[in-house]
Symmetry: C2
Subunit: 234 residues, 2 copies
C-alpha cells in the first residue's frame, strides 16, 4: 500500500542530526571528558557511567548541553571519590561552552529541500533541545527564513505530538514529521495517525545496506538522504 501525502499541510523537521551535525559534537565531548578523568578510570568505564548519569538526570535536567555538563561534573566528583581538581571542573565547564559555540554544519541537500518545500508547505522545526541553543543554531545555519517557527517540546512522545497538533490546529493526517530518530521522530507519529519519514544520520548507515527509499512497514518511509523526500512529495 502506497502512502498518500495529499493532506499534508505542515512538515515538522527535527533539527539535530537531521538538518545539521550534532551527535558528533557530543561524542567528541565525551572523549575529551574521559581523557580528563583518565587517571581515575578506563575510558570504557567513564563512558558507561556518564551515560548512566545522563539517563538518571534526564527527568530533572531534560535534553541539551547544559544538563549534559551538569551530569559530567556530578560524575567527575563521584568517579574521583571527591578528588577531582578545580582545573578539571573548569575544563568540563569549557567543554560545554565550546559545544554551545560550535559551528553549524548542514547535512547534504538540506537547503535545497527546504527551499523547495517551503513554497508548498508550512515548515516548522520540532526539537526537544534547549530553545536558546536551537535558535542560535538556526540563526547560524542560514535556514531561518524557511521556517514558520520553532516548536520546542520537552519530549517527543505521543502526548507531546498530540499537544503540538492541537496547538497547530491541524489533524494528524495533515502533519508530516521528518527526522533521524525512529524513537522520537517516527514511531510516536505513526501511533497517532500522522505521517513520518525516517532519514537516519550517516553514522547509522555505515552498518546498514538499504536502497535510497524503503517502505519498512505500511506506515512510513525510510530515505537515505533528505533530498529523497522530494521524489516522494512532488
Amino acid at each position: 500500500m502506497e502512502i498518500n501525502y495529499d493532506n499534508v499541510k505542515v512538515i515538522g523537521f527535527d533539527a539535530d542530526d537531521t538538518l545539521w551535525i550534532n551527535e558528533t559534537y557530543f561524542r567528541e565531548a565525551e572523549k575529551d571528558f574521559s581523557k580528563l578523568l583518565s587517571r581515575y578510570e578506563t575510558v570504557n568505564k567513564i563512558d558507561q557511567e556518564l551515560y548512566k548519569k545522563e539517563i538518571k538526570n534526564l527527568e530533572i535536567y531534560g535534553y541539551g548541553v547544559k544538563g549534559f555538563v551538569l551530569s559530567m561534573i556530578e560524575m567527575a566528583v563521584e568517579i574521583s571519590n571527591h578528588n577531582v581538581s578545580n582545573k578539571t571542573i573548569e575544563a568540563i565547564l569549557n567543554i560545554g561552552k565550546d559545544m554551545i559555540n560550535k559551528p553549524v554544519i548542514l547535512l547534504k541537500g538540506v537547503e535545497n529541500v527546504l527551499n523547495i518545500l517551503s513554497k508548498e508547505y508550512r515548515l516548522i522545526l520540532v526539537t526537544k533541545g534547549d530553545l536558546l541553543d536551537q535558535e542560535r543554531k538556526l540563526n547560524k545555519s542560514g535556514l531561518i527564513d524557511y521556517f514558520h517557527h520553532i516548536e520546542v517540546v520537552s519530549d517527543k512522545k505521543e502526548e507531546n505530538y498530540l499537544k503540538l497538533l492541537t496547538h497547530l490546529d491541524i489533524i494528524p493526517s495533515e502533519f508530516l514529521m521528518v527526522g533521524n530518530s525512529l524513537k522520537s521522530d517516527v514511531l510516536p507519529l505513526i501511533n497517532i495517525g500522522a505521517h513520518s519519514m525516517h532519514v537516519p544520520f550517516h553514522t547509522t548507515w555505515i552498518h546498514e545496506d538499504v536502497s535510497d527509499i524503503e517502505q519498512t512497514t505500511n506506515n512510513y518511509l525510510t530515505v537515505k538522504n533528505l533530498s529523497d523526500i522530494l521524489k516522494v512529495l512532488n
Copy 2:
C-alpha cells in the same frame, strides 16, 4: 484615554512570579550559595560577583536553573582561587536539583482569574524559562487545563513577541500580555502595539504605594493583584 480591550483574543501570561512564586527560591539559593563560600569572601561580594557571572553567561546559557547552577560552579572555582572542595561542588549541584523540585505555590487569586478568563479567551503561557521546568511547574500547579499551550521564548524582546504573534496568526491589538516584569512583559508589547497589564510581584509593592488599578501611561495598566484584571476585562 481609556484603553480598549475589545479586540483581545489571546491572553499571554508570564509564569514565574506572575502565577506562582519563583524569585523567592532564587534568593534562597543565593543565600545558601554565599554560605557555602563564606570562608572565601563576604556575602555581599559573593552576591555581586555571582550576579556579574550570571549576566556574563546569560548570552550562552540563557534563563533558567541549569545556567544558574553552571554560573555558581564557575564562580565558586574562581572566588576560591581553585580551592573549592568537591563537597561544595556537590552541594551547589544539589541547590539546583532542590530548586527544580520545589513546590509550586500559586499567587493570590490566580486559579479564579484563569477559570473565568479561559471561558472567553485563548490563554497561553509565555515564558523564557526552561520548557521542561515550566511544564513541570504547570503540571504541579493544577492550572494546565486553562492553557492552550506553553510558548517558550528565548528572550522577551520586541522581536520575540512579533514572532509569537506571527506564530499565533493574530495582530498586535488582539494580544494582551500579563506579567510582573515591566522590561519583559510590558514595554516590548506596548512598543509593538499590543496590550499589556503589569502585575508587580509582591516584594516590589513593599516600596511602592499605588491604588488597586493605575494607568501609568496611556498605554498600559498596573494592577495590584491578578484578580483586578477581571474588573477591567469584564
